[in-house]
Symmetry: C2
Subunit: 477 residues, 2 copies
């Protein structure tokens, strides 16, 4: 729905920017949900984004900015001078601003902190100190808290003062003078209770809490298990230091699922979404694993060489024997290269689809994939194929030299290594192509793209690998 709305409204916004129609921009921003505004602004040029946001109130500007993807936030803040940036940071919620700061160069952060009020500064330094995968890194410090010795009526009064600053006021934490967590009362219980009731009588004293150093995945799982809106995070002395809210937990669950899906297909997890990640990062995070897997496949070839030598007792020497020896030895390497590269592509696209569901509800908006992503994926396939081909051809040639597999004469061995290299290049390209296009086709026709499982892509690539290997061998040798 948002994508549809986006395509309608972006040209209007661009026109408003050109016309410097401040009133129009201000009005438009006020009526949209900040998440919708963020999603529309993300695709504009940096200067346009700020031209629009400058017409919003600071509060609204920050709210919209917080919904922008982290990598885009990083780009956008480069356009701001120190003063405007520190203003933005001061207003941002503690967890979101620390996420942004942790991606900025340390010197810039230090300069910025000097411009930020003392209290906020300490908060930022503390949150920045927690390890990336812990509760501390995802919690916010803006929670609602009350002392134990007041009545419900007083509690409601105080809550009204805290409300604008708290991420949620639906759970209120009851703290001792030393900020130890003594209890919890929900806003629901609070408005149901009599005004003169003591808070101590209606609070739940046995609060489920987690330590600030706990793995963020565990925190998300616990929150999900209890259906909580927020989970309190305490330090080693049981003092409340923050809360993790339901929306952060759902983000963690999605990010961890993406990381696991990537790892399972031998893609080192990316810091950004696949569509936003830099070309070279994707290349490295995949190439690294493909090369490692290639080396295991070389071991397979070595093992095949050993057995072939043992079973044929050196009786082979006709040229056709030696060429089928080439196939025996290196077909597993060829198949694994194509299959693995294809699985990587399929996983990246299938996971991307899973995180961006189709707008089935809006008539007239059919499923489309950004063509640039497909082209980029094929370029990555080409680069991966070339890198693997070079390494594999070199190792195969070296293996002939070192006697890992039966030689057919030095010059013939070099040609054979070339056959392996060329075949690997082509099969990786085919694998990447199949891994990209088959899930897209399945999705297009309304089927679950995940049916194009990694083993199925690999099996298809296997059949093609055989054809390719023989054809290349016949063409070159």
């Amino acid at each position: 729905m948002v994508d549809y709305f986006k395509s309608l409204i972006q040209p209007d916004i661009r026109q408003m920017v050109r016309d410097r129609d401040k009133a129009g921009m201000a009005a438009l921003i006020e009526v949209m949900h900040p998440a919708v505004a963020a999603s529309i602004l993300e695709d504009l040029y940096d200067a346009e984004v700020w031209a629009v946001l400058d017409n919003a109130t600071l509060h609204n500007r920050v709210e919209i900015f917080e919904y922008v993807a982290l990598r885009r936030q990083e780009e956008l803040v480069k356009q701001l001078d120190q003063r405007r940036l520190s203003e933005l940071l001061e207003e941002m919620s503690p967890d979101d601003r620390v996420d942004l700061l942790s991606r900025m160069p340390a010197e810039r952060v230090e300069e910025l902190l000097r411009l930020i009020a003392q209290a906020e500064r300490n908060d930022i330094r503390r949150l920045l100190s927690y390890d990336e995968n812990t509760a501390g890194a995802i919690m916010t410090t803006e929670y609602a808290s009350l002392p134990v010795d007041i009545t419900v009526g007083e509690a409601l009064l105080r809550l009204r003062q805290q409300a604008p600053d708290s991420e949620t006021i639906y759970y209120i934490y009851i703290l001792s003078a030393s900020r130890r967590l003594n209890g919890l009362v929900s806003l629901r219980e609070l408005i149901l209770a009599r005004e003169d009731e003591q808070l101590a009588n209606i609070m739940e004293p046995d609060v489920i809490r987690m330590n600030v150093g706990e793995d963020r995945e565990n925190v998300a799982q616990e929150l999900a298990r209890y259906n909580f809106i927020a989970l309190p995070i305490v330090d080693d002395d049981d003092r409340l230091v923050g809360i993790v809210t339901h929306d952060d937990a759902i983000d963690v669950v999605q990010e961890e699922a993406t990381e696991d899906a990537y790892r399972q297909s031998a893609v080192e997890p990316l810091r950004d979404d696949y569509e936003d990640a830099p070309f070279l990062t994707i290349l490295w995070n995949r190439g690294f694993w493909l090369l490692a897997l290639s080396l295991v496949a070389i071991m397979t070839a070595g093992m095949l060489g050993l057995y072939e030598r043992a079973t044929t007792h050196g009786s082979r020497n006709a040229p056709e024997d030696l060429s089928s020896m080439l196939i025996i030895l290196f077909l597993p390497l060829v198949m694994a290269s194509g299959g693995n590269a294809g699985s990587q592509s399929a996983t990246l696209f299938i996971r991307m689809f899973a995180l961006q569901p189709a707008d089935a509800a809006v008539p007239g908006t059919e499923f489309r994939v950004d063509r640039r992503l497909v082209v980029r994926e094929l370029m990555i396939g080409l680069a991966l194929g070339a890198a693997l081909a070079l390494v594999d051809a070199f190792v195969v040639a070296a293996g002939y030299g070192l006697g890992w597999w039966p030689s057919a004469g030095a010059s013939q061995d070099l040609w054979r290594s070339l056959v392996v290299g060329v075949t690997v290049l082509l099969i990786v390209l085919i694998g990447t192509g199949a891994g990209t296009l088959l899930p897209i086709l399945f999705r297009r026709f309304g089927m679950d793209p995940a049916i194009m499982s990694n083993p199925l892509i690999a099996a298809i690539v296997d059949v093609l690998g055989v054809v390719l290997f023989y054809e290349v061998a016949m063409a070159i040798l």
Copy 2:
């Protein structure tokens, strides 16, 4: 933390049941969070569970029951007579009871519905009618709603009456007389507003909503995108029919991630968690795909047969040539079988770990895997291996008969088919073993089990596959 607590308290509970210590059981149940109580009770015998729950108030009993896993709920209700079951169902929240009813035989549901009050009955029938994957199937009908023409003070009064029945009262939906969705006001805004303010002035009129037929995955994604606590669900006439809450959305995100992870590794999604799913279901949901992939590998063998015949011009007939022909043709089949079975095991265990994080925070509780699960997985590997071995040996023998690959004489062909069958059986066992044990070992030593990616398992199985294939061939032929 819960697991640790569980092991401490379960023996005490069992003792209380034996002693019929009603007061003790009632007291224990009252102090625990219902999710904790559910997790402790789940592992007791059915009769024990009800012996304990009978001492809780109906409200509390239902709350605990709702936290019990669906498959366990299904078993437990078999112990209840119609009257007690209908009492339980009437008190359950609409979405949870429909999940349970949709797993019960249609006749039993009809009998039960007769015992349930008219209003509830209609609600149940309506919710049961929605397709499993839609918003309608995950929404609850217990939301808080108000008319537009009242003041904030009146709204708070009415809300206090609705509170006990609503799943959440933090978002209140403003409805027209015909139940059309006109606006939204949060409880936070409500308690911040002046008592004599008109609701119409503080409500957000532009409410993001979704249709009851929308894919549940899209609903969860939208809720996550906007950081909502709940998302209103409307029918085609824009009348409010239910809400999807944040805790249901997080469950959907986890379930969909599990389904995708399974599909990606060629496991047909299971209705229950892996640990609870029936043996035969797991066998079928994996064997089905393994067989299909096997057939593609047979095509690969056929392709290899074609090329081998073309390139060797029929010059092969020495026995050692024909035995290396056996390896060439069927090595891809052997490798794919072992690799795919191994990937399935690895995915099932890695995903199970992801959904049950380690209790790192509690000293003395080290990571343990239920040994029965490992044994069951190896039994599944044995059954899968046997099934694949039979089918593959048969198809290979048939292929010799039909001339798909060069024959070496009828009796020799049968022996060769036997070699393929035996090797497939062994490699599937090895694949399953590696896919099960390597992630467990990695997890045990505190590393991410997902590093044991499917391609890595497959590569390891490939090396072993070569050794195995030659050894079996040499032993049998």
